[in-house]
């Protein structure tokens, strides 16, 4: 009885040791001059996507290391302005003053590439009976001075919830998703104080899936079985539209948006190779796999 356990653990130990050795060798090889690293930072909405791209690209071009980190579109753009990274992911456009700042610091003009489309989905708990909501109602829930604070005001009773108060789940202010929502739902007005400001797209969906009375917004790629995406209508009475691929592509979904990568100046060398690959059919396939909407070839070629 003892022997199989022992052999197993020895085997595991050997396997771990062996793989560490290999990793060690790989590491020392990578430190050679031929190896180059691309630093990617920014949008939390795109962090999964960017990691998937980086992993897949490793198979295409093993000599290029791609280091991906999140923090929010604002963080990525701020780093690009300082010239500390090669590529910034953003779920919003760079603002004119940010472009100016980048030019002043680095002397290069940031170049924008649309790499995917996303529907900013409105999430509620799966037990919440609400199916559709209008942009106006959504704004009244989230905007400073908005009148909707209870689910009963929307005619909704949530089974099994002890509380009627709407728990608003929002994002930290460096998030591109936060700014997109503020611009397109709140008409650039401010958020109501007291929303739970999460530090990532996934955290929003996690909190909503644990909270029956919650409502939050996040990229469509983060949907799980524990949450429900609410259909959106522009005005009450108008048809509500689901955040699907088709509705995102034809822009009928009110919160459809583009996801961008920015480089400093026209990309060159390895960075150019990577950005080109992202926009190629192979890169766009990853977009689809991670739950976003690929850019049609014609518009990607522009």
């Amino acid at each position: 009885m003892r022997t199989p356990w022992l052999t197993k653990s020895v085997a595991y130990g050997l396997a771990v040791g062996f793989s560490l050795t290999i990793a060690g060798c790989g590491g020392s090889k990578q430190s050679g001059p031929a190896q180059s690293a691309i630093q990617v930072k920014g949008s939390d909405t795109m962090v999964n996507l960017a990691q998937a791209w980086a992993e897949e690209y490793k198979k295409v071009a093993p000599q290029v290391d791609i280091e991906v980190s999140g923090g929010g579109s604002g963080v990525g753009i701020a780093a690009l302005e300082k010239g500390t990274i090669d590529i910034a992911n953003a779920s919003r456009n760079m603002k004119p003053e940010e472009v100016e700042q980048a030019k002043r610091n680095t002397g290069k003009e940031p170049k924008e590439f649309v790499v995917a489309f996303d529907a900013l989905a409105v999430y509620v708990h799966k037990d919440n009976p609400i199916n559709e909501i209008s942009l106006e109602q959504l704004a009244q829930i989230f905007v400073e001075g908005g009148t909707v604070t209870k689910w009963s005001q929307l005619g909704v009773t949530i089974p099994g919830a002890s509380d009627d108060e709407i728990v608003r789940v929002s994002r930290q202010s460096s998030s591109g998703t936060y700014e997109f929502f503020r611009e397109h739902v709140l008409a650039k007005k401010d958020f109501k104080l007291g929303s739970r400001d999460m530090n990532g797209s996934k955290e929003v969906v996690d909190l909503v899936s644990n909270t029956k009375t919650a409502i939050g917004y996040s990229g469509m790629g983060y949907a799980t079985p524990a949450v429900k995406m609410v259909l959106l209508s522009t005005k009450p009475g108008e048809p509500a539209i689901a955040p699907t691929v088709a509705n995102t592509l034809n822009k009928t979904y009110p919160l459809a948006r583009s996801l961008f990568v920015y480089t400093l100046g026209e990309p060159e060398g390895q960075v150019k190779g990577y950005v080109d690959w992202i926009r190629s059919p192979a890169g766009q396939q990853i977009v689809e796999k991670t739950g976003y909407v690929p850019v049609p070839v014609t518009s990607a070629a522009q």
Binding site: V75, E165, R182, S195, D197
Partner: protein
């Protein structure tokens, strides 16, 4: 050897040390002196740099210190109306730290008294090691526990809509403060001279009576200092509260409401704030405020401990 032989007779040969040893010793002395001084230099430098980053906003006419301290409205990135009010954050910090201290003090003083006076030497060693281990757990691990374990328990027990709230943050911070208060409190009790104990026992006092009427009054300053250092830790803690309090800017209406603290706010927003922008400077100003708060607490603790020494 030769030099010793050359010394005139009748005088004791002075030990001659090589030049490198003399110079080396001097250099080492200077080095040690410098490292001692460096602590002061670093603290002053940190305060100077933090204040220098913050200072311009104090003189900007778009910024009002009164609004800064008395308004709840924190809209640093607003498109239409930028407002920097940190009252909600101050209240958040106060609530969480206050609750943490209320929970932590009875436990940690109890633990300190038990370790110092009641338990045997072997158990004492074990307990001290375990408490030191507890103090060494990184705050991000505590935050993770707050996010995934205690918040779920709170939802199950209280039916709160969201588990990451004041109560959750307070419990997590209390767990982090207990080891500090316990070990410093235990030191304070141990510092009471054994003659006090012997005198009490000689008069027929039980252990409990000794603790209650002799040791606690004698060690009260040290214990108070321990509690204050715990408060300092609670106020300054960042990562754990960032993860376990729900990050909502407002005045909480109860223990089950989410809040945001001064520290968590800096951690969450400094990365995005463009360097040298107003938002960036206001965050540094928040840092100055935190620095002053913790400085005041530590100074109070220090003065109290000094009080102990003078009495002896």
């Amino acid at each position: 050897m030769t030099e010793a032989a050359l010394t005139p007779p009748g005088r004791r040969p002075r030990p001659v040390r090589p030049l490198w040893a003399i110079v080396g010793e001097r250099a080492l002395e200077v080095l040690i002196r410098l490292s001692g001084m460096s602590a002061i230099v670093f603290v002053l430098a940190i305060f100077f740099f933090v204040f220098r980053e913050a200072a311009p906003v104090l003189f900007s006419d778009r910024f009002s210190p009164v609004q800064f301290l008395t308004s709840v409205e924190w809209y640093p990135t607003s498109v239409s109306n930028v407002r920097y009010g940190i009252l909600g954050l101050i209240v958040g910090t106060a609530c969480i730290s206050g609750l943490a201290i209320v929970i932590a003090v009875p436990f940690s003083l109890g633990a300190a008294i038990f370790i110092a006076e009641f338990c045997g030497p072997r158990l004492r060693e074990v307990l001290k090691i375990v408490i030191e281990l507890l103090a060494a757990i990184p705050s991000v691990v505590w935050g993770f526990i707050g996010l995934t374990v205690t918040s779920r328990i709170i939802v199950d027990l209280t039916g709160a809509p969201v588990g990451v709230n004041v109560l959750n943050g307070g419990v997590i911070l209390a767990l982090m403060c207990v080891p500090i208060i316990t070990s410093i409190g235990e030191d304070a009790l141990k510092a009471v001279p054994d003659t006090y104990r012997e005198a009490a026992f000689a008069q027929g006092a039980t252990t409990w009576q000794t603790v209650r009427y002799v040791l606690l009054p004698a060690a009260k300053n040290g214990l108070l200092a321990a509690v204050l250092l715990g408060v300092g830790r609670a106020v300054g803690e960042t990562m754990a509260v960032l993860m376990s309090t729900g990050h909502a800017v407002h005045i909480p209406h109860g223990l089950l409401d989410s809040v945001r603290t001064l520290t968590a706010n800096i951690a969450a927003e400094l990365g995005e704030a463009p360097a040298h922008s107003e938002h960036y400077r206001v965050l540094f100003l928040t840092g100055v405020l935190l620095f002053l708060i913790t400085f005041a607490i530590n100074l109070a603790a220090d003065l109290i401990v000094r009080g102990v020494r003078r009495e002896r």
